[in-house]
Amino acid sequence: MSTKRADAEPDVDRGVLSSYDRRRGSVRAGMSLVHVLLLGGLVIAGLGPILWLAKAAVTSTADTITQPIALWPNGIDWANLAQAWFEVHIDQYFLNTVLLALGSWLFSLFIATTAGYGLSVLRPKYAGILNAAVLATLFVPSVVLLVPLYLTIVHPPVGHSLLNNYLAVWLPAATNAFNILLVKRFFDNLPREVFEAARTDGAGPFRLFWSIVLPMSRPILGVVSVFAIIASLKDYLWPMLVLPDPAVQPLGVRLPAIQSQVELDVFLAALAISTVIPIVLFLAFQRVFLRSAGLGGAVKG
């Protein structure tokens, strides 16, 4: 065994299988089988439902019900999409969804970067206490916030009720301790010499933030952006509670409500339209998505 291994080339990024293993007939056949099964399984499970939905969006109701798994519809019914977009007012909910996601994104980025900068670079005396207070909220599951936060929205400390106001979604979305922690850790690892040099050249704290720290932090800003936008597109319970007026609700909240009011084919077309933004974002920024997921996509309340 060891003599056989000696002639194998060094394999630094190897996994379980060595290059010697890979040349063995049984392992080769096994790996080919694994390849086929894996790719087939992932295509069916990952892409299948989306392709099915895309097909159903342009198929008549009768066709979808009688032959749900037909690969090709009997006649394409483009009218479903137009009907969903204009008559069911998906256009309006689509716009609401975009506005909610954009606002949550901007507020999250603003809070996470200013707080991260304050806690990591400026570090006033009270930074330690603040940092602990932010970290502590990570241990509090989101369920605790549900009722008291709702009542805060109904009776905010200043001004009128924030019900049906997008600030009721944007501001709580920005209180994400995990994002602040990520940004702070990233800032902690930036070279201090650069900051010192900039300070010597007369850059104040605002200049340092805007022209030095932020441009150096693109990778982490991308990750926080993905977290903020995806969280906003996925949210259901919170926007449903604080946006009771259908005119301001996003797609995610509207879809279950309109299900009983529209025909199945139009409803499936509406579902298909709802997947467009996240899928386009994912395809465009795949690497940022997968890096964010590796960082702890599962970390939530």
């Binding site: 291994r5 394999d11 190897r14 996994g15 379980v16 299988l17 060595s18 010697y20 293993d21 390849h35 992932l42 499970a45 990952g46 439902p49 009688t66 798994i69 603003f110 200013t114 707080a115 900068y117 304050g118 400026l122 006033p124 909220t137 241990f139 509090v140 989101s142 369920v143 605790v144 916030l145 549900l146 009722v147 008291p148 936060l149 805060t152 109904v154 009776h155 400390p157 709580p172 602040i180 704290p205 605002f206 995806i230 259901y236 319970l237 509670l241 995610g252 909240v253 579902l271 709802s274 997947t275 899928i279 994912f282 997968l290 997921a293 590796g294 702890g296 996509g297 599962a298 309340g301």
Partner: protein
């Protein structure tokens, strides 16, 4: 030197505060004070106009609710099923995917695709797939291999497993990406050493790969338990808690206490139940934090 407002200002005190103020204000209003308020409210009865202290009444009422036991059992059942389905499958897929030499990016992207679909859309789509008639999508597929149509969401016994299958499908991609990252950090020398000892492929997986992943496996276990203990969307949209309360979860009960009655919710009981759930989960989060801290300092 004497500390005066002027030295504070000259030392950058004001700009420090300007940078931290947005976070302090937003957290104070929308995070810290609601958290404190939730503990206070669990001892109160309020209709938003008048508030009175009621001691432990809310806790007693919640604990004597006959539905609470059902909700706890259902939530635990969901969590256990989610572990049985949702734990080994992503791990197995990740180990296989990490052996793929070419096209890794395509595999990861395909696996992650369900995660980016908004959960509401996924649930509504699967609700159609779960149609109990013989022409339902899944029932048609079962028909190909000679299995009779299943009731899926319509029966109290199969409703919960149906929810868990969808939830697993929706979340597996995230776990796979995390495991793939962890697999990259397994030192190759360990495999080399195992081969010198004559270990087979399976023994390498069992004695090298899995032990090396135990850290990330433990973290994922705790995170999954914390997430499944707060499951709401699937039972709410798939079944509304039915059939026959078979899918009522703890968070759905909290929602019902607080928001189902349009005349004004029973906020005291809702917060009392949230606080009890939170204490259980906070213990888990604390263990998680301690363990990750130990691993990251090593």
């Amino acid at each position: 030197m004497k500390r005066t407002p002027l030295t504070w200002f000259r030392g950058g005190g004001l700009s420090n505060l300007l940078f931290l103020a947005p976070m302090i204000i937003v957290f104070a209003v929308f995070s810290w004070s609601p958290i404190i308020r939730s503990f206070v409210m669990s001892f109160q009865k309020t209709n938003l106009i008048t508030t009175q202290w009621v001691g432990l009444d809310n806790f007693e009422n919640v604990l004597s609710d006959p539905l609470l036991g059902t909700a706890i059992v259902n939530t635990l059942y969901f969590a256990v099923l989610a572990l049985i389905f949702g734990f080994p499958v992503p791990l197995l897929l990740a180990v296989l995917m990490s052996e793929v030499k070419r096209g890794k990016g395509l595999y990861s992207a395909l696996a992650y695709l369900p995660v980016v679909i908004p959960p509401v859309v996924a649930v509504l789509l699967w609700k159609f797939f779960y149609d109990a008639g013989p022409n339902g999508v899944f029932n048609t597929m079962l028909g190909w291999v000679g299995i009779p149509p299943q009731p899926w969401l319509q029966s109290a016994t199969s409703a919960m497993p149906s929810l868990v299958i969808e939830a697993t499908w929706a979340a597996a991609g995230g776990s796979i990406i995390i495991y793939l990252a962890a697999l990259l950090s397994v030192p190759p020398e360990l495999y080399d050493a195992a081969e010198v000892d004559g270990a087979s492929v399976w023994r390498k997986v069992w004695h090298v790969t899995l032990p090396q992943l135990r850290g990330v496996l433990f973290i994922m276990l705790i995170l999954q338990v914390i997430a499944t203990a707060q499951v709401f969307l699937e039972p709410f949209l798939f079944t509304g808690g039915g059939p026959n309360n078979a899918t009522v979860t703890v968070l759905m009960l909290i929602y019902r206490y607080a928001f189902q009655n349009s005349l004004g919710g029973n906020y005291g009981e809702a917060t009392a139940l949230s606080v009890m759930l939170a204490i259980v989960l906070a213990v888990l989060s604390f263990v998680y934090f301690k363990v990750t801290e130990r691993w990251s300092s090593n």
